[in-house]
């Protein structure tokens, strides 16, 4: 996992959420990122989000990395793909 140089990467905690809000809230958070914010971290305990978020993030110009935190919890790191504006 690459460390982002910025001190503060925004984190979105969607644990406990019902389907499909983990994906929907991630998408709206990605859309609200400022131009200089390169990444977003999402904490989720909803396994289907591991399949829906990468696709929706890619469509917005973000790359996905998933880190298993154990106990059915995952940290999803979404990083803006350089040179792309996002669709």
């Amino acid at each position: 996992m690459t460390k982002t140089p910025e001190a503060s990467v925004k984190t979105l905690d969607v644990r406990g959420e019902i389907c499909p809000y983990p994906m929907m809230r991630t998408v709206s958070a990605l859309k609200k990122l400022q131009g200089d914010e390169r990444a977003l971290e999402v904490v989720t305990d909803h396994p289907p989000a591991l399949q829906t978020i990468p696709t929706q993030a890619a469509r917005l110009g973000f790359r996905t990395e998933v880190e298993e935190k154990g106990a059915s919890e995952w940290l999803i790191v979404l990083t803006r793909i350089e040179g792309e504006d996002g669709a």
Partner: protein, 392 residues
């Protein structure tokens, strides 16, 4: 933990088997359905919703394959049951249901409800097993909605359902024709969802961890066990397995479905406080997941099916390390789950089935009601998708 759960499942099997072999058979079917639903996260609500919400057809493709497999199996069984289609006889247990306004309205309400609640009835059952608290709330809503539909059942029966036609395709175009038309229609839907997906843009395949080449037989077996019990199943084999299980259950007794059984619980609870809806007209003659009046008994083979699904999912989730109590923090989610559940319960009550009984078992029954329910389910899911995007 998972092993303890499976051991408990075996104990229940033996106890059920001693009481009634039907109980133990339905328990095993329930476990199998619950296990597969959980392992593949096979969600009928997302099959419809994700097409509208994100142009994603993963679950819909699995559903279509499951329907195709079940259609071939059901078609073969029904051609044995009713060899002469010109006589106007219906296959005894297939889900050929009265078709009318109640079918469409039921599908519409169910479709909205399943998207609002984040899962249909089978989806809520397997998520209950995974520890989603909101799904328990949705299930309570389903029970409430089924009870409300039981209060209005006689009204529906008198004005509409009693005279509604039961349209079984083999009566019109024979067994081979009916199967062919069904498979072609499924292929048509497949092309349609693929075209939506291609318009929506990139689809990232499920992220997979890189596996090294297994070095020994035990290594290889471990990797197979990992794919079965830990890694999420791909959706296509899961759809095919669910379709195949449905054919087996149909061959053994009746198609997969359970909202009739859940209505028996609701009506039974209502009768404890003297609020039972009273006799339900015509239900004895109808197949499928038609409402079941309370019979005063507790055990029933269908009880073992529903509880088996819940327990199968629970054991599967434990084995995969995916069990966790998930408690929504936003109050509105409880309202959504309950309200969505009530809509699903009412819809399933008047349509005589849910995404399983009125769709996954009805289209393979080569019955037109399955297609009408499915079309309105899609419309309802579209409406539901509009609604959830407005709820923060």
């Amino acid at each position: 933990m998972a092993l303890t759960a499976w051991a408990a499942a075996v104990v229940v099997y033996m106890a059920a088997h001693a009481a009634d072999t039907g109980f133990s058979m339905f328990w095993v079917f329930g476990l199998a359905f619950g296990f597969v639903l959980q392992r593949a996260r096979f969600c009928f609500a997302s099959a419809f919703r994700d097409i509208f919400l994100m142009g994603h057809s993963r679950n819909m493709r699995g559903l279509l394959l499951g329907l195709a497999v079940a259609s071939v199996g059901f078609g073969l069984v029904m051609s044995q049951q009713v060899p002469m289609t010109s006589l106007g006889v219906y296959p005894p247990s297939a889900n050929v249901l009265p078709l009318g306004i109640h079918t469409g309205l039921g599908g519409l309400l169910f479709g909205m409800g399943m998207v609002l609640a984040g899962g249909c009835v089978s989806g809520s059952i397997y998520r209950m097993g995974e520890g989603y608290v909101a799904s328990w709330v949705a299930f309570a809503g389903v029970m409430g909605g089924l009870l409300v539909s039981a209060y209005t059942w006689n009204w529906w029966w008198d004005i509409h359902i009693a005279d509604a036609p039961r349209i079984w395709l083999p009566h019109w175009i024979g067994h081979p024709g009916a199967l062919l038309v069904t498979l072609l229609a499924l292929a048509g839907v497949y092309v349609w969802v693929l075209s939506i997906e291609h318009r929506a843009g990139i689809v990232v395949p499920p992220l997979s961890r890189s596996h090294s080449q297994p070095e020994s037989v035990s290594d290889d077996l471990r990797s197979v066990a990992h794919s079965l019990f830990v890694k999420a199943w791909p959706v296509l084999p899961a759809g095919a397995v669910l379709g195949g299980l449905n054919v087996l259950l149909f061959t053994a007794q009746e198609p997969w479905g359970f909202t009739g059984e859940v209505s028996r619980w609701s009506v039974g609870m209502a009768s404890l406080v003297n609020a039972a809806p009273g006799p339900l007209a015509g239900v004895e003659e109808l197949p499928g997941c038609v409402l079941v009046p309370s019979d005063g008994l507790f055990f029933n083979h269908m009880l073992f099916l529903v509880c088996g699904m819940l327990f199968g999912s629970f054991a599967a989730a434990l084995g995969a390390g995916e069990f966790k109590l998930r408690v929504p923090r936003r109050t509105v989610r409880y309202a959504q789950s309950l309200g969505g559940g009530v809509l699903m319960g009412y819809g399933a009550g008047i349509a005589m089935g849910c995404t399983i009984g009125a769709l996954f078992s009805a289209i393979p029954s080569l019955a037109v009601n399955g297609w009408v329910f499915g079309a309105f389910l899609a419309l309802g899911a579209w409406l539901g998708t509009q609604m959830i995007q407005r709820i923060e």
